[in-house]
């Protein structure tokens, strides 16, 4: 499990939220071949808006994704077609998609749809 920063960090402008990030269906191969990551992100994005899933996705691309093939995860600044996003095991469409405001302790799962048989 990759841990980042001190969970008690609570200085001005650097309050953090702890999250479980999970990858499935092959996406884990883009993220150090690791299915489960425990990470922390700032409670607010650079424009002082509360962190939402859109911000999280950018954060993952910039900080957690080591693979260069960003377009296997994000296309035109959005999650690429064929990837499902689950917020605490519920389809993100039920939760507001990119606009969902991340809560401390949330589990966000990214699933690449499989087609083999």
């Amino acid at each position: 499990m990759g841990e980042q920063q001190d969970p008690s960090a609570d200085e001005v402008g650097c309050k953090l939220i702890s999250l479980n990030i999970e990858f499935s269906g092959g996406l884990e191969m883009l993220f150090s071949n690791q299915r489960s990551h425990r990470i922390q992100i700032p409670v607010k994005d650079s424009s002082e808006q509360p962190a939402n899933v859109g911000f999280l996705v950018r954060h993952l691309c910039e900080n957690l994704m080591k693979d260069k093939r960003k377009d296997l995860f994000v296309l035109e600044d959005r999650i690429r077609p064929g990837i499902l996003v689950l917020i605490n095991d519920a389809d993100w469409e039920l939760e507001g998609e990119e606009e969902y405001l991340i809560q401390d302790g949330d589990t966000i799962l990214f699933v690449s749809t499989l087609h083999g048989g």
Partner: protein, 293 residues
């Protein structure tokens, strides 16, 4: 659905006894199974166990469509084929096995690919379709025809050591369809098949068996259908918690297949499929005009 009267012979009572004594099945359920007509599209890693257990359970009509022939490299996972049938059409090989497992069902062979030309005609003969295929293009085709025909889809897929299962268009017009969940196809370069990615045999087998279980539940209408509760099951053989049950979105009002899209011209119709306006291969990023799915 074919609502004609069916009867069970003494031999059938004996054969199905162990499942008929289940309150979830009963004599009524067994009759429903015998009345049902199920199409299995693709008799590979998913279709093999799905066909075996549905034939065993006493589905009345079991159609199998596949244009492939049995290869040596299939046999680690495609367990109703055999070394002695390498080179034979998979459909013929499958029905050879199935008929010896259970002679009672009516097996319908379709030794051809499912295409925009034949899909409507073929699927019109069935009440339920199992999507056991291996490419997004054919998954969209199966979806669009099943929506037009009002039949539910039990869809599964597998790759490497992972599997996914979802029941779509169930009940027809109520549950989400494949396009509700995946309105846009994945970029062609992100699609990996079992040939390139590899596949662990019992992983795809597990997903195929789960399709058989879901098919039996739909056919016997038990549980009575929960409207709008669609789940997707993930399996990861090497995951810390191998099974995961995800709560999925419902039917989308604007879906081009099962809903009413804002631009009326986008609505997928029987005619649009039949006259070739829908190019599934091009839609999924393949060469336009290629019909082979």
């Amino acid at each position: 659905a074919n609502k004609s009267e069916v009867k069970l012979s003494l031999e059938e009572y004996k054969r199905y006894g162990r499942q008929m004594i289940l309150p979830e099945i009963g004599i009524e359920g067994q009759m429903s199974l015998k009345r049902s007509r199920v199409l299995i599209v693709g008799v590979g890693g998913l279709g093999c166990p799905a066909a075996a257990y549905l034939a065993g359970a006493g589905v009345g009509t079991l159609g199998v469509i596949d244009h492939d022939t049995v290869e040596n490299s299939n046999l680690h996972r495609q367990i109703i084929h055999s070394t002695s049938r390498v080179g034979a059409p998979k459909v013929v090989s499958a029905i050879t096995y199935l008929r010896d497992l259970n002679p009672h069902p009516n097996y319908v062979p379709h030794v051809e690919p499912l295409t925009t030309e034949n899909a409507l005609q073929i699927m019109a003969e069935y009440d339920l379709v199992l999507d056991c295929t291996d490419h997004p293009a054919i998954r969209y085709l199966i979806n669009d025809v099943a929506v037009v025909m009002n039949i539910p889809i039990v869809s599964a897929s597998a790759l490497r050591t992972d599997g996914q299962l979802i029941v779509l268009n169930n009940p027809p017009g109520v549950g989400p369809c494949y396009r509700c969940v995946w309105p846009r196809p994945p970029p062609a370069e992100s699609v990996v098949g079992c040939g390139e990615g590899g596949i662990l045999g019992p992983v795809v087998g597990l997903m195929g068996i789960m399709q058989a279980i879901e098919a039996i539940k739909i056919i016997t209408k038990n549980p009575a259908r929960d409207i709008g509760r669609t789940t997707m099951t993930l399996f990861a053989a090497y995951g810390a918690s191998p099974f995961r049950c995800l709560k999925m979105r419902g039917k989308k009002a604007g879906c081009v297949a099962c809903g009413s899209p804002e631009r009326v011209g986008e609505k997928i119709t029987r005619e649009g499929i039949e006259d070739g306006r829908m190019d599934y291969v091009a839609f999924c990023g393949g060469r336009a005009g290629m019909r082979e799915l």
